[in-house]
Amino acid sequence: MQNDPFICIDNVTKRFEPDAPPALDAINGEIATGHITGLVGPDGAGKTTLIRLMTGLSRPDEGRVLINGKDATRSHKDLHRMIGYMPQKFGLYEDLTVQENLGIYANLKGLPAADRQAAFDELLEFTDLAQFTGRLAGALSGGMKQKLGLACALLKRPRLLLLDEPSVGVDPISRRELWRMVQALVDETMAVVWSTAYLDEAEHCDHVLLLSEGRLLFAGPPADLTRRVDGRVFLAKPPASKRRAILSRLLSENLARDAIIHGDAIRILTKDETSMVGVTPPPAIVEVTGVLEPVPSRFEDAFVDVLGGGPQGRSLLADAMTIHADDGKPAVEARGLTKRYGDFTAASDISFSIKRGEIFGLLGPNGAGKSTTFKMLCGLLTPSEGEGRVAGFDLRTATADARGRLGYMAQKFALYGELSVAQNLAFFAGVYGLGKKRAQHRIETMLDVFELTQYRKVSAKTLPLGFKQRLALAAALLHEPDVLFLDEPTSGVDPITRREFWSHINALTAQNVAVLVTTHFMEEAEYCDRINLIYRGQTIAEGTPDELRNAIRRPEVEAPTMEDAFIELVRRSDTQEAA
């Protein structure tokens, strides 16, 4: 029994459209009881499709999924008796209370009446929701919804727990708590499948299936994959003023396999051939960067390596934008921005200023007040107190043309899905009042820079995710704004696409464009020059990524991540409030 895997994925292929590449392409894998199996990959990799196959709710076109030795699509009833499934968005009835949601799932799963109260008590205590039983599920925070979803999935103790992206939209603290809970549950009788787009989460799994565009790239313990790039990862710490120039040289001269900004440093993955030397950095790189310090490799480094390395060459965007003059004044300024809805304060006394050529991050969990602050700056919301200025204008009252100074890329790449790539660009060119000739020129340039020419006539909604993101950025930059606002620009995309995106943004800063990024996504925060950490509507810390990390450095936390910093700073803010 011990050797028999609990789930056996046997050469599974699944297509949704006959012409498109398959959503899952001949996947083989095994999932065992007794630990957490991570289903890892960017959006569109096929994670949800694979989980649905395991629930038996979807049927593979080829191959089969065996669960406990039985075909998932055949033994429907038996299967559903032993699984606990939490779909994306948690599968909760938002207009019902916590207790009612639990009651429904308990009944549906046939939990005997005698065991109910005990099970509820245990789960409510476990998830810390006991004091909220009367609250509507829709009124819970993301983290609480997630816990309730988990509690519902755990009723009548399933043998197979399937969690589809449980950590999306949830703050890092709740994420860790959830992780700990699930880990506490796992034993030899239970298998857990946890799907995620976050690579740092993958590192904590006992076993991962790494998916990308429907193909399985790796199966096994994450450390096995990470080990492949051991000795090839270095940090360079050039002066801040030169950091971006050095990065673009590394990439344009094709010196490293991968290089990204990581707080105050540049994180470099060297090419294969240099790895045998062990921890000696390749001299060609040292020549550009100066001293290199070897660091432990991470799952992401290995993933990028498997995908063939980060993007090479330089962003053509730099040539496509005129350089804005730096008048020394702040490009964006928030002075005591406050927004109240009745008794509730969504944002309280938020102040910061962004220089030209700077990337500034507003970091915080969903619902912390990032979007409120962001919208007050854009002029979409009227502040209750304080004021926001963009390029010297208060956009709430400024003339329409002043708004033309701002470029805006909305969350999830809000584009007009029905319109083709060229039509989308033409629309934004028109909206920003570009003359006919200039519009034509700019559209061609953007198609060129973002390599969208071949997709010119394709409807935006059918573009691959990475190209959607490029199009959204192209649309925001058509009119050469001096301030660029980005709302969660790279959450859910694969690391290569993210690198491409940031290489464009880096190029912009050289043209003195100020960039404001809002994100709840820690990896994104690393790319920023400075970060304002927002929690419960208030700024709890501001500084460079390294300053924030250093602020919490203690002997026992040697190399804190951005997430560690976030959690610790939030904890401190909580204790301060309590005091």
Binding site: L57, K77, H80, Y105
Partner: protein, 378 residues
């Protein structure tokens, strides 16, 4: 199935049905569709739509100033069907007719008295506004009636006996006064119940698909039949509730008589809810999307129930093809049954075939739904 298993099955159905009820009560848009919209429609049909042409505005042009002509004009003025504008020149009222402020003109010409003496009565001219054909017919018919009564009296006053004639003696059964509200209000109950049975049901289930809760529920041991039953039960109850609401409003607010039995009303309504719910479930199973579901429900449920059910427009007057289509519109049978129950009574000779037809359409829809309800997501 063991006893324990069937118990669990029943318990699952009850659970989901209870959940559905809670959701309806808590969701404002459900309340809008389930309670506000029905009342709005009921009031519109009760007060707004009336086919009783009881006060048609007409003009009476009196070109003959002699007593007989004046007496005829007075007869028109006295009629409760007409709201008369007197004029002595045609042109003034003709313009009003064009503008739509008058629906007819009675012209009593200058030689009226002479013609009357010569017993050549076709002197009086009725001009109707043909752009409103229904009203035009009423104007002509009522004017004939007014004239016939006046002529009778005139002849008697002259000491002459009117010539013998065949007298038509119409008897309007069930609705002697021909109050159109009496058949519109019961008929609109069918529209209201279609909204709840089809539109609301389709929307709510489509929403479960959109929000991802359906996925979570499908991964539990619930079966398709259980799922369907648990969706039908609460909307069935809601539909019955709205029936009571409509019936009470019909009797106490709109003064419609109720001559049938409550039992028969319940049976007929239950038979109607079967296809109505079936249609709603079918739509949501096929579309899984609130936007498309709402459009389909409006175009295949609400519109036919309003226009093709025979409650405003006579089915027998429609072209052949549409008449065939109406056979599959359950509201058609329900409208007739309701009108019968309210105005005539428990006429089983009419109700039984209607019930049979509704059940047949219902079984058809539910069977289709069963096969369209996915066990899987794709």
């Amino acid at each position: 199935m063991t006893r324990q298993e069937s118990l669990r099955s029943v318990w699952r159905i009850i659970t989901m049905a209870r959940k559905e009820t809670l959701q309806i009560v808590r969701d404002p848009s459900s309340i809008l569709i389930a309670f506000v919209l029905p009342l709005l429609l009921l009031f519109m049909f009760g007060f707004g739509i009336s086919l009783d042409a009881n006060t048609v505005r007409i003009g009476v042009v009196v070109e003959d100033a002699r007593p007989d002509a004046r007496s005829l004009a007075q007869s028109f003025q006295a009629s409760r069907y007409f709201d008369v504008t007197l004029a002595f020149d045609r042109r003034a009222v003709e313009e009003e007719l064009v503008a739509g402020r008058l629906r007819g003109i009675v012209v009593i010409p200058s030689d009226f008295t002479e013609r009357l003496r010569r017993q050549n009565p076709s002197a009086v001219q009725i001009i109707t506004d043909g752009s409103q054909p229904n009203t035009a017919q009423f104007v002509a018919n009522y004017a004939r009636g007014v004239y016939a009564v006046w002529q009778d009296k005139y002849l008697r006053d002259e000491g002459r006996n009117p010539p013998p004639s065949i007298e038509s003696q119409p008897r309007f059964w069930f609705n002697a006064e021909l109050t159109s509200r009496y058949n519109l209000v019961p008929g609109s109950t069918a529209v209201v119940m279609t909204i709840i049975g089809t539109l609301l049901t389709a929307l709510v289930i489509a929403r479960e698909w959109e929000r991802g809760t359906m996925e979570a529920v499908l991964a539990t041991p619930i079966s398709r039949i259980e799922l369907l039953l648990s969706k039908i039960a609460p909307y069935f109850a809601l539909g019955m509730g709205s029936l009571i609401l409509c019936a009470v409003a019909a009797v106490f607010i709109f003064g419609v008589p109720f001559r049938g039995s409550v039992f028969a009303l319940g049976v007929v309504a239950a038979a109607f809810l079967l296809p109505a719910l079936g249609q709603g479930l079918l739509i949501s199973a096929v579309t899984k999307n609130q936007f498309v579901a709402s459009q389909l429900a409006l175009f295949t449920g609400f519109l036919p129930a309003t226009l093709l059910s025979g409650f405003v427009f006579e089915i027998s007057s429609m072209p052949e093809l549409i008449r065939v289509i109406t056979m599959f519109i359950p509201a058609r049978y329900f409208v007739t049954s309701l009108q019968t129950l309210f105005l005539a009574g428990d006429t089983w000779i009419l109700l039984l075939p209607a019930i049979r037809n509704m059940v047949a359409v219902g079984v058809l829809f539910l069977t289709l739904t069963y096969f369209a309800t996915p066990k899987r997501i794709d």
